[in-house]
């Protein structure tokens, strides 16, 4: 076991940090530390401009192969980039769905024409993507999608109808990837297709969902005979589930250390508040602050283990399987801790009518952490069944 990074990686770290120090300033100063989860509605135009700035510096899609404009950065370097990015207060990435999900999926499952058509826009920080997976009746049971895709021989296009929900950044994206049923008589994970659909067309309607924070990161997206070209299906009709699951597998966790840096910023703020208002002298709160610190440090150790690619028995990566349940539970507890440290002041909203502080929004939005991306209950099923070999849930 070795914990330190190589000298080359440390040089890379310096390069990233220097570039960020030189560029994340001036017109971009106001967006530092903004636009993260729960704050994705903020500074959208400025953050789009920032994506292009990143692209000019060669800092988008660094993990992609060089032939598609990436740097073929190693896992360590991607980790370092994400850490430095978060440390510098880099704003929430508008392009992350394209960069971390869509791009790798096209590189793995797409054809040459699709890669040529779609990858450059992602790499340049000009074209943004959103994800059309969940539906009103397909949440945890994702395979239950009802959205249909029908090939129209006359126009030579796919026609898509149905409804998606919980679509982040739909109103800011040019494209959406959609799983839809190509075989109307199919059920569950059979008979699905994976489609690349332009948002700007008459058949697509976006309706924001107002959340408990009063803001709207999520949307409903309605497809009413929306169209895409014959070539805009990834894989063959019927292979959509394979592509969709492959895409989720690209979330390899390189962004987790960056996410943890955001968590660290939040914890630091809680510590500052506690020192300033005397909560730091309350024995019960001291215990909870230390517990949060321990939890976050272990989250980092666990990610390092995950990224080093070894379970203790060399096969199943159990530390990766607990990751979502671990961080979501930790973060939700941090939200409550923040309010308890603030005390009476936690109720007072800084801006009328409902402009929440960062910690207030974190407190409320962390209730979503244990739901999206696989609820804690689903995570526990997966852990029990796949890692511990306990009997599977009955399926209808």
């Amino acid at each position: 076991m070795k914990l330190s990074f190589s000298p080359e990686d440390e040089l890379f770290r310096e390069e990233v940090a220097n570039w960020l120090a030189d560029n994340l300033c001036g017109e971009f100063e106001p967006i530092r530390f903004r636009g993260g989860p729960g704050d994705e509605h903020s500074f959208v135009e400025e953050r789009k401009a920032w994506e292009q700035k990143l692209a000019e510096g060669g800092w988008t899609c660094i993990g992609w192969p060089k032939q598609y404009g990436g740097r073929a950065a190693s896992v360590e370097q991607q980790v370092i980039f994400n850490e430095e990015y978060a440390r510098a207060g880099g704003p929430g990435r508008m392009g992350h769905i394209g960069e971390t999900l869509m791009g790798p999926t096209l590189i793995a499952f797409g054809n040459a024409a699709q890669r040529e058509h779609y990858l450059p826009g992602i790499r340049a920080g000009r074209e943004f993507w959103c994800q059309g997976y969940s539906e009103p009746s397909a949440g945890s049971d994702l395979a239950n999608v009802k959205t249909r895709a029908r090939f129209d021989e006359g126009t030579g296009q796919w026609q898509i109808s149905g409804q998606k929900v919980w679509t982040s950044l739909a109103h800011e994206s040019q494209y959406v990837f959609v799983i839809a049923r190509t075989d109307p008589d199919s059920s569950a994970h059979k008979g699905l297709g994976f489609f690349l659909v332009a948002m700007d067309q008459p058949g697509v309607t976006v309706r924001p969902i107002e959340q408990l924070t009063g803001t709207s990161e999520f949307n409903e997206v309605f497809f009413d005979d929306a169209v895409c070209d014959a070539d805009d299906i990834v894989g063959a009709p019927g292979e959509g589930w394979k592509v969709a699951m492959g895409l989720l597998g690209f979330e390899r966790g390189v962004s987790t250390l960056g996410q943890q840096m955001l968590f660290q910023n939040e914890l630091d703020e809680i510590v500052r508040v506690a020192k300033a208002n005397g909560a730091a002298c309350d024995p019960a709160l001291r215990q909870r602050i230390a517990e949060a610190h321990i939890g976050l440090r272990i989250m980092r150790f666990n990610s390092m283990r995950m990224l080093s690619g070894g379970g203790d028995d060399g096969s199943l990566q159990k530390e990766a399987m607990i990751y979502k349940l671990y961080w979501s539970s930790w973060h939700r507890n941090l939200g409550k801790l923040a309010m308890d440290v603030l005390g009476a002041e936690s109720e007072i909203v800084p801006e009328a009518p409902y402009g929440l502080s960062r910690l207030q929004s974190m407190y409320l939005f962390t209730r979503a952490d244990t739901i999206y991306g696989g609820t804690n209950q689903i995570q526990r099923n997966i852990i029990a069944e796949r890692a511990l070999g306990m009997p599977r849930e009955p399926r209808g």
């Binding site: 215990q287 230390a290 272990i298 080093s308 852990i383």
Partner: protein
């Protein structure tokens, strides 16, 4: 960054696992724990003389194997899984680390050599009713002639009644806190030392009371400079806590594994109870705890390696130790407690082993600072400094 076992480390772990499954069976544990001595001499001989486990991280110059702390942690984890009854933590986790940190070359040559050859050892520092900080040191040492005279009483000394070699912490009369602390290493047979077994709730690890009455020791028994030993002792306790944390990972793992096995066999309402979500979700929570604990313990073991070798990350020893000990204590307690619950009625019988793990989890939690104690230690670092 390679935060995973090397092939050699994996092999050491696997070898330990296989050997312990053979020798540290439920029957063997129950037989050993029923004795006052607490372990089988024959097994200890095999472990120390044939396998040389106590010599694991003793440098080759002193007759050891010269391996690192990660290997030690891997071995402790396996010992926790089988509740091995042996004076390993006391000898290696406490005494060897004390000698490595604080011993001079003559002491290391003599005592590490003895330990590598199969002698047992322990460390005593806590007065009755104390917590594991500097204030726990109440035994006194006064300079007299060419040596020192030691007096006082220790409790909670692991294997103190059987150890061949003792490392003792004592303070200058009238000193308080971290000032005036000295460490001594001496044969347990030294005149004036009386030792008495203390029966414990966790019978798989023995504790003793040691009383010093006018114990005369030569200056050569003093480790480092007299009165200046607190930093070395603190470092030793952190290293021991990390070894213990790795053991707790093994305890937590076994509680999970045996609970999954039991609930998979047990049938109620016509189904194996492992098929109920109420059971599965509890097991999933237990796995989360043990995997997070494992990450914490092995991170700390890497830091311990650096601390012993004088590497740059070694300055994080106290923090890493507190994180590991706080979390692994909680994980072992949680998993063994849930383990009893998942075993249902048989969980509280003496026939089933889960109760032994539950008791070990508690004794390990209390030893070297429980979760709350380590959290407070971290809170001081986080909250009582100047800038946030």
């Amino acid at each position: 960054m390679e935060f995973r076992f090397t092939e050699e480390q994996q092999m050491i772990r696997d070898t330990a696992e296989a050997f312990l499954a053979e020798v540290s069976t439920a029957a063997a544990v129950r037989e050993a724990m029923a004795t006052e001595r607490g372990y089988s001499d024959a097994l200890w001989q095999q472990i120390s003389e044939e396998l040389m486990w106590p010599a694991l991280h003793i440098p080759e110059a002193f007759g050891g194997l010269g391996l690192g702390f990660v290997e030690l942690a891997a071995m402790q984890e396996q010992m926790g899984r089988t509740l091995l009854c042996a004076p390993f933590l006391s000898t290696v986790g406490f005494a060897v680390n004390a000698l490595l940190v604080a011993g001079n070359e003559a002491q290391q040559t003599a005592y590490l050599g003895d330990i590598a050859a199969g002698k047992t050892a322990t460390l005593a520092f806590m007065a009755p009713g104390s917590r594991p900080d500097a204030a726990a040191i109440q035994a006194t040492c006064r300079s007299e002639g060419d040596g020192f005279v030691l007096d006082g009483e220790y409790r909670y000394v692991l294997d103190g009644h059987t150890a061949d070699i003792l490392v003792l912490a004592a303070r200058a009369p009238g000193s308080v806190g971290t000032e005036g602390v000295s460490l001594f290493v001496l044969p347990a047979s030294t005149a004036g030392i009386s030792r008495e077994w203390l029966p414990t709730m966790d019978q798989t690890r023995k504790q003793a009371r040691i009383v010093l009455e006018n114990v005369q020791v030569e200056r050569s028994a003093c480790m480092g400079e007299a009165g200046q030993a607190w930093p070395a002792l603190a470092k030793t306790l952190d290293l021991a806590a990390i070894a213990l944390a790795a053991e707790q990972v093994g305890v937590a793992q076994q509680a999970l594994d045996s609970s999954v096995a039991y609930t998979t066999e047990r049938v109620q309402f016509g189904r194996t109870i492992a098929s109920y979500q109420a059971i599965k979700h509890k097991a999933a929570d237990m796995m989360l705890k043990v995997e997070a604990a494992r990450s914490a313990a092995y991170y700390a073991a890497c830091i311990a390696d650096e601390a012993l070798a004088g590497g740059p990350l070694g300055s994080g020893l106290a923090e890493a130790a507190s994180i590991a000990k706080a979390y692994c204590s909680e994980a072992a307690f949680f998993n063994t407690g849930c383990g009893i619950q998942l075993h249902g009625g048989v969980g509280i019988t003496s026939e089933y082993d889960i109760q032994l793990y539950f008791k070990r989890a508690k004794s390990a939690e209390t030893l070297l600072g429980d979760t709350a104690w380590h959290r407070e230690r971290l809170a001081q670092q986080l909250l009582d400094g100047g800038e946030a």
